[in-house]
């Protein structure tokens, strides 16, 4: 990980092939996650409601919800840490890098936490749509981050002095 803390041209050059392979796998993981949710029916509000809605009197929601959030936090945590850290050593404008990370993080939190809304606000029905939107935006922002890092990692910064 020396290339992250001391990103010399030589270190970045050496790190480029494995970093790009890792990013390709990260993209595959994101696509697989979309397919998995589609196959399990949780990309539709009805499918989500069937699996994650709290039953009558279930104050904390179903165990399946907690398991999903537990797994999701691990997945998002590592993806955002690794991809976010790689973006730091890419020749990008800080505003773009921060925007990608902020959008992905905010949307990931919506994806993880939206199913808890009906526990705090009984009868709050838009939670499922909110979760699907959060997942879609988080996945899109992460894919954009992965693609940006894939293209720019180890590249020379664009000269602005003419």
């Amino acid at each position: 990980m020396r290339f992250l803390l001391q990103p010399s041209p030589a270190a970045l050059e050496r790190a480029r092939p494995p970093v790009r392979t890792f990013l390709a796998f990260a993209a595959l993981l994101l696509v697989a996650e979309v397919i998995q949710r589609a196959v399990s029916g949780t990309l539709s509000p009805a499918g989500l409601a069937a699996t994650l809605s709290p039953a009558e009197g279930e104050r904390l929601g179903p165990v399946a919800l907690w398991e999903e959030v537990h797994q999701g936090a691990f997945l998002y945590g590592f993806l955002l840490l690794t991809v976010g850290s790689l973006l730091v050593v890419c020749p990008l404008a800080a505003a773009l890098r921060n925007a990608l990370l902020a959008v992905a993080t905010g949307a990931a939190l919506v994806d993880l936490l939206a199913p808890f809304l009906p526990l705090a606000l009984p009868g709050f029905s838009p939670w499922a749509g909110l979760r699907i939107a959060g997942f879609s935006v988080a996945t899109a922002a992460l894919l954009a981050s992965v693609a940006t890092a894939f293209v720019t990692f180890g590249r020379a910064p664009r000269r602005t002095d003419g």
Partner: protein, 170 residues
């Protein structure tokens, strides 16, 4: 954040810390909801209870939970401990102790389920102690990470973006 190199990674570290907090909180809720915090409840979870739904846990069932945790738990601890250690604000001895305690609690927690089921049901006490210890060390790591983030000075443009450090020519 004593290590200047880490300052530039504040945002991804903050996100990782937030997700680790969610991980720890949901892990605690799942433990309590599935097993409970009394030795008798934990033993009943592994050995089963009288009635049609109280079957003992199978090896397959235990492995389905243990195998992903054998990857995920050490990874989370490894990254969190590395960040805390790299920041350089804790004495190495404290980092070593925190590392041994967190990995030790994690290992005991993972193995004691198998022990309760097939070796000695009274290991449920060790399972609960390991769970409480693991959550406590994880909470300590989260607090340390938050404290490092809170005390980190703003990165200057010269130290910050990769723009100035990326290769000059290819």
């Amino acid at each position: 954040m004593a290590d200047a190199g880490l300052r530039r990674f504040r945002a991804p570290i903050a996100v990782f810390t937030a997700m680790t907090l969610i991980l720890a909180a949901t892990g605690a809720v799942l433990f309590v909801r599935k097993m409970g915090l009394r030795p008798g409840e934990v033993t009943a979870y592994y050995l089963g209870t009288a009635g049609p739904f109280g079957k003992p846990r199978t090896l397959r069932g235990l492995l389905e939970v243990a195998v992903p945790h054998l990857l995920a738990v050490p990874l989370v601890l490894f990254v969190a401990l590395h960040l805390v250690a790299f920041a350089g604000e804790l004495p190495p001895r404290t980092v070593r102790r925190l590392s041994r305690a967190s990995f030790g609690f994690a290992l005991i927690g993972l193995l004691s389920g198998f022990g309760i089921r097939w070796v000695w049901p009274a290991l449920s006490v060790a399972k609960i102690a390991a769970f409480v210890g693991f959550e406590a060390t994880l909470a300590a790591l989260i607090v340390l990470l938050v404290s490092l983030l809170a005390h980190a000075p703003e990165a200057t443009e010269a130290e910050g973006p990769a723009r100035s450090r990326a290769p000059a020519a290819r």
